[in-house]
Symmetry: D2
């Protein structure tokens, strides 16, 4: 494996999750942290020769002019989760990754995210095509300079507003023609990155609720370039629990009357989600899973509120009101207190490792067996976490049997 180089190009490269990915990779390499939280470190994957996390080469695009070192320090102070001494040990690794980050083009990012931008790129694209080409040029340079064998574009950027897929997004031929027109609303930024990745035959992983490659033309493009893609919206906390608990209510034939979930948190993502348009994407992705699993629609309510002093700690209170035998009303409540970036980062690393393994196996298109990682899995309608995990186990078992590693 050592000769092969896997590059991870992160969209939102100085954000909380990206910073945690970078710090985590370095901390594991330096022996500071074990692999706790990495699904890909489970015994299930023993013998598969997944890429060593320490060998991943990081780069990326970012709108804010800062650095992984600063971002890591800010994260540590705001959320108090790892020791300051780690920053000393990992500083060089972070600085090297920081040096490989480029300013992001500003097309299609929306007004709320635009407010955060503090890093002006040299060129301001006028058309989606021009933006894609600027992105692609940065990818090419990264691949060349770092001798990357497999490039994975990983979207960890802020949540965009919901985007309605229309006729123009149905086929690649049609969409390709539209890309050259000066229409900033044709596609959101996340999809421009997806197209840049897939056109180049690179892998695309969308960890956000934004559109990314979730439309027919992108699927078609991926097939044509033999590219892999996976997404969307990493399932880290409250929604994970919904997809764990809802099957229990279903299997016990208990009648869920209402499922209310309130989330509070205080990281930068919160600033973006304070815009109702951006929040709608997140809430939509969080809300549908319960109905999908139960097979009927209880009263549901999901809120996500930005409370600055919470830092990266996301606390969810869920109240589940259900009817049991003889019509008796009962209830379950849970409170989840998780550090958001620390829940998301290991899953992002898992997705990189598992996608890389698929690349070596020659897989093309959406990675349906990774459904358990996502709130809105690409290419499969299954939301029950345990059915999703079974897809993964069955997939790995099948691969082991066919002796392809």
């Amino acid at each position: 494996m050592s000769a092969r180089r896997v590059g991870v190009w992160i969209v939102g490269a100085f954000g909380g999750v990206a910073t945690t990915v970078a710090l985590g990779l370095s901390a594991m390499k330096r022996g500071l942290a074990p692999s706790t939280g990495l699904v890909s470190a489970l015994p299930l994957f023993d013998g598969l020769d997944l890429v060593d996390p320490g060998e991943l080469v990081l780069g990326g695009h970012e709108l804010r002019l800062t650095s992984l070192e600063e971002s890591a320090e800010e994260f540590r102070q705001g959320s108090g989760v790892f020791d300051r001494s780690w920053l000393d040990v990992c500083r060089d690794d972070l600085a090297q990754a920081t040096a490989r980050v480029r300013p992001a083009p500003h097309l299609g990012i929306g007004a709320t995210i635009a407010k955060l931008a503090t890093w002006e790129p040299a060129h301001q694209p006028k058309t989606p095509r021009a933006a894609i080409d600027l992105i692609a040029a940065d990818l090419r340079e990264f691949v060349a300079r770092e001798s990357i064998d497999h490039l994975i574009v990983l979207n960890l950027a802020s949540t965009e507003p919901p985007f309605a897929v229309e006729a123009a997004h149905q086929t690649w031929d049609r969409l390709k023609r539209e890309l050259g027109k000066p229409d900033e609303t044709l596609l959101p930024s996340s999809s421009l990155y997806a197209i840049a990745a897939l056109e180049g035959g690179h892998t695309h992983i969308n960890f956000t609720p934004s559109l990314g490659s979730s439309f027919p033309a992108a699927y078609e493009l991926a097939e044509s370039t033999k590219a892999i893609h996976a997404g969307k919206d990493g399932k880290t906390g409250e929604t994970l629990l919904k997809t764990v608990l809802a099957p229990m209510f279903a299997h016990r034939n208990l009648d869920v009357m209402s499922w209310v979930g309130h989330n509070i948190f205080g990281n930068r993502d919160g600033v973006v989600l304070d815009d109702p348009a951006n929040k709608a994407s997140k809430v939509g992705s969080k809300d549908k899973v319960v109905t999908s699993i139960l097979g009927y629609k209880p009263s549901t309510l999901v809120s996500i509120e930005y409370i600055p002093d919470m830092g990266d700690w996301k606390t969810a209170w869920d109240h589940i009101h259900f009817r049991g035998f003889l019509g008796a009303k009962m209830k379950m409540q849970f409170i989840w207190e998780g550090c958001d970036s620390l829940l998301a980062a290991p899953l992002a690393i898992d997705l990189v490792r598992l996608a890389d393994w698929e690349k070596r196996r020659g897989t093309i298109g959406p990675l349906k067996h990774l459904a358990s990682f996502f709130k809105s899995p690409e290419g499969v309608e299954e939301h029950d976490f345990f059915e999703q995990f079974r897809l993964l186990v069955d997939h790995v078992d099948q691969a082991k049997k066919t002796n392809v590693r």
Copy 2:
């Protein structure tokens, strides 16, 4: 089906769960309540021609001289769960079942349970064999009088203290010889009922944490008489949640440091569990599942406390402290507020229906595919609720394929 008669002989026939079973069967038959809470009413079982709940014939043994009508009224007042008008509609059904209940022999019931006894049986057995024979005589009379085709002995009695299985319980031959000796400590009451059932070729279902048929000699006996048995300790609330949530932590490679569970409730079961000896059985059954699923032993603590004003409402607070990526400590807490008897009763009815179906299919021995119903499933070490449920689904699917109904 209408010609076939299925009898359910309940040990603890006037207890909270038994009362809810009786009332529930009547309420469903009278159209007052839907099948919410019945697993056996899930679409999974469509086309299997399970016995109609309304056709089950109830009888049983009891230590307390009361009636299902009184017990139902007491339950309603203490827990406020169904309308008083139901009692009017169901009174005749309850009275008929009450008339089929017999005083239980007092051998092997332990000091704490003995304190509750207010109904003196005509004969006081001196040996386990004598007690078994008294039980068997009552079973025979019930079968004869009610023209029962399939008799199911269902243990819903109070929890006994833990019982150490020893050499005497290893083979039926050996145990049979000991039964005739005047040794009250040879077997707990629950096992005398199990032996009476299995010797008669009847089905035995142990919904309690007591020993019942959970020892080699009883397994051997069941094989020899072609009897079915299932158990033990119905999984209704907090433990159900443990077996739902622990797999999530395992699949996400999160390191559970401690899992603390405090339960408070106020029904008669609580009076018995206030005796530390009896409580030990319950706590043991509740405590082991987390360790079994995770594959390592976190700090665990389970308490069950009797708070009279809670009535039949059991409230559990669980605090799960876990370590995630980069060693960060996070936590989940849940609060479960369920009406205990209303969670247990439908599962007891499910077990009766599914055991009856197995009887017609010619099954013998422990029903391993019913593991999802129990805290300590007989014959299988699986505690992950979703793996257990998969056993049930696979079993039913297999049966449907082989076209045996």
Copy 3:
């Protein structure tokens, strides 16, 4: 006392709280319920000869054509809080009160509340003055027919949108001139009732967050007619707890960084509060108390959401994030599960009894010593519950000393 007749004219006479008041008065009179929940039954008030709850004469205005009997049955079924047999015992009392309820004029009620209206009054007023006169006529008739010595108008109606007090509401002279103009926006409905009450020298109690008598011209009017008034917004659950807990944080010099409160409930009030305009009144009243008590402004968030299956049960989750010694971040969370109408009704009865006592003592104007009953107490800025309660205790002690009963 028996010769003296106290009348209670309820605005919103068939609503949840009004129904509970009517049922509660009857149930206490009939010996079904003790005085639990009545502040005025505390030993503090021993010897004050407060009016006997059973002697209060109920009447009122209502927009919906129903009855106390129907409303009580609906409440019982939706929230399962008292036994059906009570309705039989109390039916006559409820029917008598129902017969004294009149259709409410529709002026100034706002669009959302108007949608609930199903009872058309004979006359539709065109001006505020006309509406006030219609109300006053009904009050006069009630007083005459029932030989009422002291009439208390008690507002238990749905929450109106916030109302900006302006120049026109500063003096009674000025306002009086405006009342005759056909301007539906001059005053909300709650204030028309307040004026009708105060002009007649009757007592006015505003249990809602609506404007009522909370403006200078109404204060002036009350002084001129020697009338009593009290309000506003009964403090029953989450806000009560805020005013109990915030002083603790203040006295311990703990720095509250954020206080988030989410409320869910399912009664008719919820339908009205689903309109953001109406909700704003409620949230405003709930939100300000923490800042007022702490003396600085933490991040605060209050939501109230309508979840139909909750019935009258209001569940609040509050998350309080605070900083302690050496800057350590700590937290407290609470979950309050209360039946809203059953928390509100006894306080409404208390207010009637205590206002009547003041009337006999010759008090005029706002009853500041009743601050502990309200989220936005009239005439006093104190929100600390224990300081408010001390106002009450001191007031009663002072009255006892001066030997006026």
Copy 4:
């Protein structure tokens, strides 16, 4: 003030609370931390010229051979509450205090606490009198060497088992005679420290549930030497909340049926409290306050369990089941997550400052106005937190009026 020297002699000088006191005093002096959490920093005390926290001189006794520096590092790692850099800044201050700590005599400490002892004193006393003299000698040396004007002995040691006060403890004359006999059970260690302090005319503050000076002979001794004493059992978390919330239920005439409290935590105190004998003191002190405030006895349950991974974080879940109007059962639950030492340390500093102020004012005997700091306040039966706080406010106001500072 600067010429006056106040010494604080801490029993349990390397424990969690003592370490936090030492670190906190240094951190405040060095400008690292504000006075958040210090009651004595409230505006109420403005103008009273309390001793500056930074001027307190620390010393003490300890059973374990370690240091404040080590203990602070251990605390930081286990509970993650302040930045490592603080230890660098405060190291010299901690080292100086460490140098003033002496090995504690081992008489009367009980078996469980004795197990923790790793520091052997030079002399092993055979009688209580001998132990007291050894303690007194260390106090004298401290006073002389550090030129202490006012010495305060502050007990922050582990909780001892409950101790029955008997005839021998009623008068100082009688007790004095018994002290010379070789009877290790005559008095617990906490009381030997109290006697040593009070005999020397020093101030004694008991922050623990142990006996300390809570018996008539000690009261008499204090009077005779004109000494001050205060205690006992600092009220930091769950019990504080009980004394805040119970008055609310009382003032609203709500009927508390049960109050269940479960506490989990993982600091060294937990090791000691795992001994049921030691735990009994703590639980007793925590349990009685609710009954005292309500005036009747609901079902109560208090548990404290040692869960090592919790570190110094104490989490309490309280479940309060109450009956409201018309008999409806409702409930409140709270979850308190506090860092125990960080809640206790500022209160200990407050007590030192306020006791020193009393000393300058010439006060003698128990400080009843400090009741709000304690679970079992000396000399006063008031448990309502707000009544207790009012005692403090009234005391300070009175002192300000009499112009004695």
